[in-house]
C-alpha cells in the first residue's frame, strides 16, 4: 500500500527534527547535507523500495547505500522511523558517542542492516554496481540505490563507476546526486565546479532525470521512471537546498559540518513544528 504524500511529509518533518536533536546532542556532525536528503530517503524507505525492516536480510530486498556517509543522521533517523530493530529511535541521541550504533559515518559492524560502510567519498556507486551485477547474476529483482553528494562527484572513482555502470547496462542501479551546491569549504562552483551534471552522466551513458529533490511527487515520479528504464542505469540529479527546513541553515556552508548550538537547536525546532 503506497504511503500518501501527506503521510510522507509528516514523516519528513519528524526526521528533520530528529536530525537537529541528534546532531545538537552530539555537538558535532553534518546537518546541512542530512536535511537536503530527507524527502528522497523518505520516499525510498517508506514507499518505493522493496524492503522489510523486520527482515533486513530479505534475499530480494532493494538496497540503499549512502555514499555521502557524512549525512549519516538522515539515514539513522529514517531507518529508526522505518522500524529496524538495529536502529532504535530512543537511542538517536547517542549519535557519535562511544559504543553507540550511531557511529559518525555509517558502520555496518554496528548496524548490520546497513548495506555498506561508507564515509570515504566516491566509493558508493562502485559498491552499488557490484550489488547490481550480483542481483542480475542471481536473477533477483533486487534494485540498488546509491546517494552521492555533488561535491563528492569530484572524486575520480565516480567516473570510473559511471563508465562501468553504463558499460554493464545496469538498469537495476540508480544513483541519486544530492545536488545541494555546497561542500565543506564553500559553494561547489567555487571549489571545483561540477556542472553541467546531468549532461556529464548522460554522456557517460546513463539515463538522467533532473528534479526538485524536495517535491515528494517529483521524487516519486523520478524513482518510477528510473524503474521503468531498461538497458542503462539511471542518475537522478536532485536539486536540493543544503540545510532545507531551517532558515538559518539553508544555503549556509557553515552548516555543512557544524553542529547547531543549544540555542540554535531550539530555534530550529520551532521552525520545524
Amino acid at each position: 500500500m503506497p504511503k500518501s504524500i501527506d503521510e510522507l511529509q509528516a514523516i519528513a518533518r519528524r526526521i528533520r527534527r530528529e536530525i537537529i536533536i541528534m546532531i545538537g546532542a552530539a555537538k558535532s556532525g553534518h546537518p546541512g547535507g542530512s536535511l537536503s536528503a530527507v524527502e528522497i530517503l523518505v520516499e525510498l524507505y517508506f514507499n518505493h523500495m522493496h524492503i522489510d525492516p523486520k527482515n533486513p536480510t530479505l534475499l530480494d530486498r532493494d538496497r540503499f547505500i549512502l555514499s555521502k556517509g557524512h549525512a549519516a543522521p538522515v539515514l539513522y533517523a529514517v531507518m529508526a522511523e522505518a522500524g529496524y530493530d538495529q536502529t532504535p529511535l530512543d537511542k538517536l541521541n547517542t549519535l557519535r558517542k562511544l559504543g553507540s550504533v550511531y557511529q559518525g559515518h555509517p558502520d555496518m559492524r554496528y548496524i548490520p542492516a546497513l548495506e555498506a560502510s561508507t564515509g570515504s567519498l566516491g566509493e558508493g556507486i562502485s559498491l552499488a554496481l557490484g550489488m547490481g551485477i550480483a542481483a542480475r547474476l542471481d536473477g533477483r529483482k533486487s534494485r540498488t540505490y546509491v546517494m552521492t553528494g555533488d561535491g563528492e562527484i569530484q572524486e575520480g572513482q565516480i567516473w570510473e563507476a559511471a563508465m562501468a555502470g553504463a558499460f554493464h547496462k545496469l538498469d537495476n542501479v540508480v544513483a541519486i546526486v544530492d545536488n545541494n551546491r555546497i561542500q565543506l569549504d564553500g559553494f561547489v562552483k567555487d571549489i571545483m565546479a561540477v556542472d553541467p551534471l546531468a549532461d556529464k552522466f548522460r554522456s557517460f551513458g546513463w539515463h538522467t532525470i533532473e528534479l526538485d529533490g524536495h517535491d515528494p511527487l517529483a521524487v516519486r515520479a523520478a524513482f518510477d521512471e528510473a524503474q521503468a528504464t531498461k538497458g542503462k542505469p539511471t542518475c537522478l540529479v536532485a536539486h536540493t537546498i543544503k540545510g532545507k527546513g531551517v532558515s538559518f541553515m539553508e544555503n549556509n556552508p557553515k552548516f555543512h559540518g557544524t553542529a547547531p548550538t543549544a540555542d540554535e537547536v531550539k530555534l530550529a525546532l520551532q521552525e520545524l513544528q
Binding site: R109, G130, Q157
Partner: protein, 321 residues
C-alpha cells in the same frame, strides 16, 4: 644420520598460472565465484576463467579503484569475488577501496596480485610490486598469502575462497621452482618446514623458498645445518613455528622478494622479539627500486639468490653467542 637429498631447481608453472587454473576449478565447484579484471586477464591468467564462465567474468577496464569497490559490492550481495590485476596496481591503486570498502567492514573479497616482485623483469619498476605485503598486512583483518610454487598456489587460492573474509594473495610472473609434491597439505596461517636443521632457520616466501633450500644445501657442506620454513601466510603469521625456530636454532634469516621495509622480515622479527629474541638477518630489496633486465639478472643484482641467503646465514651464525 643419512645425508639429506639435495634440492634441485625444477621449474614448474608460474604461480599466476596456477592461480588462473585454480579459478577455473573454483568456478566449477561454486557458482558464486565471480572474477573481476582490469584489462590484464591475459597476464593475470583470469582469461581461463573468462573463457569457461563468460557470464561470471566482469571486465572493468583500467580502473582498479572502481574494481576493488565493485568487488566489495559483489561480496556484500553474497558472491565470492576475486579481483585481479598486477600487484602494483591492485594494491596501490585499490588501496583506499581495500581499506574502506573491504577491510573496515570485513568484506569477503579475494584480491590476487600477479607480477609481484622484481622477477617480472623487463617491464621495470613501475610494474614491479615490492611493497604490497606491507600494505596488505596494514589492512586490519586481511589474510595475506605469498605462495612459493604451483601446488601451494592452487591449494591456497582454494583455501582463500573457502575462508570467509578478505584475503590478498601474491603471485609472480616467472616459472616457479617446484617445492612441493602432490601429497602436501596447505593451511592458511600454518607454515611448512621444508627442510630441518639445528644451527639456523631460514624463513622465506615466494621464489625465495627454493633459493633458501639451495642455500641450505650449500651451507650443509660448510657444516651449518639450516632449517627452512615456507612462511606462505604473512598474516596471520605462524607464531608457533617462529618461536620454535628461534628456541631451537637461536638464529633466523628471513628472505623475501620484497622491500625489507614492512615485509615478512619485520613481521617475523616482531614475533621473535615477543617470544625468544635471537640474532636475525634480512634478505630483501634494500630501500631502492629495481630496473629493467632479465629476471635472473635482476634477482642476482638485487641480492635475492641462494648465495645471498647463504651469506646472510653465515653472518647470523657468526653473531650467535
Amino acid at each position: 644420520m643419512p645425508a639429506k637429498t639435495k634440492f634441485e631447481i625444477k621449474l614448474g608453472p608460474a604461480t599466476r598460472e596456477a592461480f588462473g587454473r585454480a579459478l577455473v576449478e573454483l568456478g566449477h565447484e561454486n557458482k558464486d565465484v565471480v572474477v573481476c579484471d582490469a584489462d590484464l586477464s591475459h597476464s593475470t591468467m583470469t582469461t581461463y576463467f573468462a573463457k569457461e564462465f563468460p557470464e561470471r567474468f566482469i571486465s572493468l577496464g583500467i580502473a582498479e579503484a572502481n574494481m576493488c569497490a565493485v568487488g566489495a559490492g559483489l561480496a556484500l550481495a553474497g558472491k565470492i569475488p576475486f579481483v585481479s590485476s598486477f600487484s602494483a596496481f591492485a594494491m596501490n591503486k585499490g588501496f583506499e577501496q581495500l581499506r574502506c570498502c573491504v577491510a573496515y567492514p570485513h568484506v569477503n573479497l579475494k584480491v590476487v596480485g600477479t607480477h609481484s616482485g622484481i622477477s617480472i623483469g623487463e617491464d621495470g619498476p613501475s610494474q614491479m610490486s615490492i611493497e604490497e605485503i606491507g600494505l596488505a598486512c596494514s589492512l586490519a583483518g586481511f589474510v595475506v598469502i605469498a605462495p612459493a610454487d604451483e601446488a601451494s598456489t592452487k591449494a591456497l587460492v582454494k583455501a582463500a575462497a573457502a575462508y570467509v573474509g578478505p584475503v590478498f594473495t601474491r603471485t609472480g610472473r616467472p616459472k616457479a621452482a617446484i617445492v612441493y609434491g602432490a601429497d602436501q597439505k596447505f593451511e592458511i596461517g600454518k607454515a611448512i618446514q621444508v627442510a630441518d636443521g639445528s644451527d639456523v632457520t631460514i624463513i622465506a616466501n615466494g621464489l625465495l623458498v627454493a633459493q633458501s633450500l639451495l642455500a641450505a644445501d650449500t651451507l650443509e657442506g660448510e657444516g651449518i645445518s639450516a632449517r627452512v620454513i615456507d612462511m606462505h601466510t604473512a598474516k596471520p603469521i605462524d607464531r608457533d613455528a617462529i618461536a620454535r625456530a628461534a628456541a631451537d636454532t637461536k638464529a633466523i634469516v628471513v628472505a623475501e622478494e620484497h622491500l625489507v621495509d614492512g615485509g615478512l622480515g619485520v613481521r617475523v622479527a616482531q614475533v621473535v622479539a615477543e617470544t625468544t629474541p635471537c640474532p636475525m638477518e634480512f634478505v630483501g630489496i634494500q630501500n631502492t627500486y629495481a630496473e629493467s633486465g632479465q629476471p635472473d639478472e635482476l634477482l642476482e643484482k638485487y641480492g635475492l639468490m641462494a648465495r645471498d641467503v647463504a651469506a646472510a646465514v653465515r653472518k647470523v651464525v657468526a653473531r650467535k653467542s
